[in-house]
Amino acid sequence: MKHKIRFTINREVKEIEVEPNKTLLKMLREDLDLIGAKEGCGAGECGACTVLVDNKPVNSCLMLAVEADGKKIITIEGLSDGINLDLLQKSFIKHNALQCGYCTPGMIISARALLDRNNNPSEEDIKEALAGNLCRCTGYQRVIDAVLDAAGKGGGK
């Protein structure tokens, strides 16, 4: 049986009917055409599907769409205002903090959540916050530099 759910997605209220066995990630990608969040492992290991639920980063592959009822969800598509990129997005570009880009939406969402709760993170704080976001291209250093720079700490000197 489908369930009617109501939630906020990137600051817009939506009401849709979903099957209970659909993950939040699938709903975002298939029903809302928000394909920034990716499925990497589907098991909460890689973080490519990271989105903000009530301002907290979660693996959208480990959450059912029905559980999003009443929640406020932000995906990578919702970080910019449509004209200006988020500070972190600019910083990732500046530092070439990506190659294939598959992990980038999740990385930036996790980093955004970190800066929102701690605007002065150390390198260790960044490593802890991004430990659940795997990247097989960059070796992480440029990602860390980008986050440090966005936090006003001159990452990468």
Binding site: N21, P57, L62, L64, V66, K127
Partner: protein, 283 residues
């Protein structure tokens, strides 16, 4: 993922009646970080899923000096790590919660879920064992309280019977000054299951020790504790404690480690945890 019916009761009573009614066909959904993976992989295929996150009284952390700390079933690991009372009174628990999965996982995963899942490697289990936590269970016949060391019955098995749920975990107060340590050995620093986990609590001349990932269930090392009781900790006693702890567990070889490596690490971590808890240096 196979189709199922999703239910979201707003009370413990309703939850228990649903669980009793559907028996084997129903599965309880809390943080879902283990469950949804198992459903995706079709390891479990429930016909009904009962989400307990709409039950208000399960989402609380309370603390007072007389009763200690009470953590509701739906409180997430990050809510515990961020809680001032837990940070102040039970830093060992914060340490253990922070070693589970990733930050994203800890925003969903719960302490009670970690315990109910009953993995031998559950990071929160050894600290709860040395803190002598109590598991509060409600079922069709009423409420009961079970000591955590009687809760685990086998790999991914616990004592819960049909219709029963864990509503919260209570950590009794420790009246005297104490120090707790949780050490985890994994293949990498973050986002890994424990190869070996060791928790130690020292209260005056009492030393409590518990180990994870080295037996079918998390183990309290009572014999080793007896060996240490009232004694001055020195090098030879630490070595004895490591060897003794080894006799209380049954490590296996698996994807994360060989049995031999686990045996070595048990000795190292037991010794290191006791030393740290006693305020000594790592030798």
């Amino acid at each position: 993922m196979k189709e199922f019916e999703y239910l979201k009761p707003d009370s413990i009573k309703k939850t228990i009646s649903i669980l009793s009614q559907y028996g084997e066909r129903v599965q309880l959904l809390n943080g879902g970080t283990d469950l949804i993976v198992e459903m995706r992989d079709k390891i479990i295929q429930p016909e009904y899923l009962v989400d307990i996150k709409a039950i208000p009284q399960l989402n609380r952390i309370t603390y007072n000096k007389q009763d200690g700390l009470n953590i509701g079933a739906t409180v997430t690991l990050n809510e515990i790590s961020n809680s001032k009372v837990v940070q102040t009174h039970y830093p060992i628990l914060v340490k253990a919660c922070k070693t589970v999965g990733s930050y994203q996982v800890r925003n969903r995963a719960t302490l009670v879920g970690n315990i109910c899942n009953a993995s031998p490697a559950a990071d929160t289990a050894p600290p709860l064992l040395v803190l002598e936590a109590k598991v509060n269970i409600t079922g069709p016949t009423g409420e009961k309280i079970v000591p955590i060391n009687q809760f685990f019955t086998g790999v991914k098995k616990n004592i819960l019977k049909k219709g029963e749920i864990v509503t919260s975990i209570t950590i009794p107060p420790i009246k005297e000054k104490w120090v707790g340590v949780y050490l985890k050995q994994g293949r990498k620093k973050e986002v890994d299951l424990a190869t070996v986990g060791v928790a130690v609590v020292c209260i005056r001349d009492e030393v409590r020790i518990a180990l994870g990932a080295v037996a079918p269930v998390p183990v309290r090392a009572f014999k080793t504790e007896e060996l240490l009781k009232g004694k001055t900790i020195d090098e030879s006693l630490l070595e004895k404690a490591g060897r003794s702890a080894l006799t209380e567990v049954s490590p296996i070889s698996d994807i994360r480690s060989s049995q031999e490596y686990r045996e070595e690490i048990i000795k190292v971590l037991v010794r290191r945890a006791i030393l740290q808890a006693k305020g000594g240096h790592i030798l």
